[in-house]
């Protein structure tokens, strides 16, 4: 029955625990990890199918009713996030296994990675505010370890930025939870939705904005994003890929969940739209100023987060549906791009544009693997990014939010500019300085690790498949958005004895 | 009466005290836990067998408590009177015992007593270095420590092995 709801957390967590204990047998460890993530996907898809019509599944952990115990809740939005995230996690694990960097394939990587997977699932599933904090901490702690995996000087330095900022965010989070509990006496989110509506509006708005700040740090919105481009690029490629694809989206998820469930009156609409515009613009300007592939891509994460917030800020079904759609698109495409970035580094030893060039002639397949998601990211049709942006534009214009649409379009053009800069710098022309790997641009170059290329191809293929499945996905997004805009079903499902 | 037995009974007693009730279940549990813990944490030192004389032990405790109160009173007086009578010194007291456990007990009692603290122990010669706040005279202070040692030795007389053997292994870790 609803026992399956907990599986997306328990499967990777159990597998993580086992692989901690099984450090000595790498093959067994790997099969456990892959098996667990595969099973997670299967379970998630099943959950998705069960909630596709807008129903909400509730699982009471320990059998305790909500407010006493912790509940896990699957609505369509969380189910979608689960499916996408577990798929990306599996593919990136394959990529990591295929990576020749020992620190990534070593005994410590997988358990931590699986815990990350469990944490992400928990973030999507939990219906309890404090448990969300715990889930965040699981995810973050795993990410601290992963970002500093390898322990090089730069990783330690930039990991420090990441960890300090995240810790600060966590402290603010726990502060917000404490304040909320003090004000309304519960940490169950559905119950909160009911009780928060009854308290002093000033306090409620302040809490709402406080949560926005807390999750905004994680989601890297303006002006809380500075840490991201300084820290993401130093991690190992699979780690950066999964961070870029998933972690900030966990923040976005939390923003959407809290702003639609707990502070559902749309009081923050204007603020969100302003933040969205600034985030888009700041991110894309940052990207244009960079010279390093991973840094460029990192700044684009920020810019893209702005689009997601844009859809949320409209507080309409179409706007939220567009955001859901955007999030899914972005997770896939961003993961793909960072995986390609990793392959570029793998082949040449660098990601600096000035040391790259002409890769198109040496590795045409890699060029194709980059070009498709890059165009998608820039919103070029017919790729998923286009559909995502189109729906946002439609949603924005439908309610007359012209300014934000104008910004979105302007930023879109700049994004194209920036993607083309990567293309031109990496795949066209010739390097200004020789890359670290001397024969990187010789025909006789060594082959890229097959598993890495394979998994990258898989993600790119997924981003293309997305285009063909766009109609049903959009319908899912609309149903999910309807559930977010009107959370009564969610609240009802949780509170029904 | 081996040291191991002392340890086991101490641990079992701790268990019982923690549960705040002397019942068979607690005693049995205490024994099990004690054995478990001793098995988990093997001693990293040579264990030296010592004996145990309860009467002498009581005498030691009483003497020690008396010293404790006396010294505390003195120190309290010192604190509340403006005159500074401090005459600090570090003196060395070569003990006669070569058993590390005994030396430790003596050193601790010295440290517990207000106005004196064991600064250091030379494991070769089992000499205590003691910081005293109010030096009467080196000899006098040394003598009182040695008296304390004699009381301790009376309570825990060395058995089985000659002192010389333990002296060799005394200061070394395994």
């Amino acid at each position: 029955m609803n026992a399956a709801v907990v599986l997306p957390i328990v499967l990777p967590l159990g597998a993580g625990a086992l692989s901690m204990a099984l450090g000595r047998w790498p093959r067994l460890r790997q099969s456990i990890g892959l098996g667990a993530l595969l099973a997670t996907i299967v379970v998630s898809v099943q959950l998705l199918l069960r909630v596709a019509d807008g129903t909400v599944l509730v699982s009471r952990l320990g059998g305790w009713e909500p407010t006493v115990g912790i509940v896990l809740v699957v609505d369509l939005f969380s189910a979608i996030m689960l499916v996408v995230s577990s798929s990306m996690l599996l593919v990136v694990l394959v990529y990591a296994i295929g990576s020749p960097r020992t620190d990534v394939s070593g005994a410590f990587f997988q358990p931590v990675y699986l815990v990350l997977a469990a944490g992400v699932s928990a973030c999507f599933l939990t219906g309890d505010l404090f448990n969300l904090f715990v889930a965040f901490e699981i995810t973050l702690t795993a990410s601290y370890v992963l970002i500093t995996f390898g322990g090089s000087r730069l990783q330690v330095r930039h990991g420090m930025t990441y960890i300090v900022i995240s810790l600060l965010a966590s402290t603010l989070f726990i502060t917000a939870v404490g304040l909320t509990y003090a004000a309304v006496g519960t940490v169950n989110m559905a119950e909160l939705a009911v009780r928060l509506a009854e308290i002093d509006p000033g306090l409620r708005m302040a809490l709402g904005v406080f949560f926005l700040v807390v999750f905004g740090i994680k989601a890297a919105i303006f002006p809380l994003f500075f840490w991201l481009p300084d820290s993401y690029p130093v991690a190992a490629s699979p780690v950066t890929a999964i961070f870029a694809g998933l972690l900030t989206k966990v923040g976005v998820y939390a923003i959407i969940r809290t702003q639609t469930l707990m502070f559902s009156d749309g009081e923050a609409s204007m603020l969100l739209l302003v933040v969205a515009g600034l985030t888009m613009t700041a991110g894309v300007f940052g990207a244009i100023a960079q010279d390093d592939v991973k840094r460029i891509l990192s700044f684009h994460i920020i810019s893209q987060i702005g689009y997601m917030i844009f859809g949320l800020g409209l507080f309409t079904v179409v706007g939220l549906a567009a955001t859901v759609f955007y999030v899914v698109h972005h997770i896939i495409v961003k993961t793909a791009l960072f995986l390609v970035g990793g392959l570029i580094e793998e082949g040449t030893g660098t990601a600096a544009l000035s040391r790259l060039g002409g890769l198109l002639h040496v590795r045409p397949m890699l060029a194709a693997l980059f070009l498709l998601p890059a165009l998608s990211l820039a919103g070029i049709p017919p790729f998923s990014g286009f559909i995502a942006k189109l729906t946002l534009v439609q949603a924005g214009l439908a309610v007359g939010s012209y300014a934000i649409v104008a910004v979105a379009i302007f930023v879109s053009a700049l994004t194209l500019f920036s993607m083309v800069k990567i293309w031109s710098g990496v795949f066209w022309g010739a390097p200004e300085e020789p890359p670290p790997i001397a024969d990187a641009f010789e025909k006789s170059r060594r082959a890229l690790p097959r598993l890495m290329s394979f998994s990258t191809g898989l993600v790119v293929a997924a981003s293309l498949a997305f285009v063909f499945a766009a109609a049903p996905l959009w319908e899912l997004g609309e149903t999910a958005a309807a559930g977010l805009i009107d959370p009564s079903i969610y609240i009802e499902a949780v509170r029904t004895p | 009466m081996t040291r191991r037995f002392i340890i086991l009974s101490w641990l079992a007693a701790v268990w019982v005290m923690l549960w705040e009730a002397v019942t068979w279940a607690n005693v049995a549990g205490g024994v099990v836990v004690a054995i478990l813990v001793v098995w988990m944490v093997p001693s990293h030192r040579q264990e030296t067998a010592v004996g145990f004389r309860p009467l002498a032990a009581v005498r030691l405790v009483v003497y020690f408590l008396w010293k404790l109160l006396e010294a505390s009173a003195k120190l309290t007086w010192e604190i509340f009177t403006p005159r500074n009578r401090i005459n600090a010194a570090v003196i060395s007291v070569p003990l006669t015992s070569r058993v590390a456990g005994i030396v430790t007990v003596v050193a601790n009692m010295v440290s517990l007593t207000p106005g004196s603290v064991t600064i250091d122990i030379d494991p070769e010669t089992m000499t205590l270095f003691i910081h005293v706040l109010h030096l009467r005279s080196v000899e006098e202070d040394r003598a009182s420590v040695l008296y304390l040692e004699s009381l301790t030795l009376a309570a825990f007389p060395p058995s089985a092995f000659p002192p010389a053997v333990t002296a060799i292994g005394g200061g070394e870790t395994r």
Partner: protein, 138 residues
Amino acid sequence: MTFVLALTVAVLYGTGAYLLLQRNLSRIVIGLGVLGHGANLLLLSAGRAGRAPIIGDGAGTYADPLPQALALTAIVITFGVSAYLLALVYRSWVLSQSDEVEDDVEDRRIAEMATRLAAAQEQAREVETADDDPDAVS
């Protein structure tokens, strides 16, 4: 929550924040510690105070046990993460003998580039205005 507790919370947050705004890693870690204490105190005082919530006989209202459980979890989590941060400080020192968070190199480089470009542009503009005025010369 009493006024005194709120004041304590305020001071802990304030001092924690102050320490966090420094570049010295040790201070940052300590600041996070102080901030964590403040947060835990705030969390605990979100519930009512009272007798320890251990069911027994005796009089008086029990304290709210939930914030206690939550704060306990939070304490342990904060501890764990701080421990990891300490491990990083350790490693950072081993690697670079530095306890300071230097600025991000790439960010600085871009900032410098921007300044240099602006200067160059300024210069170019001056030159341009100079020979853009042929009438003045002829």
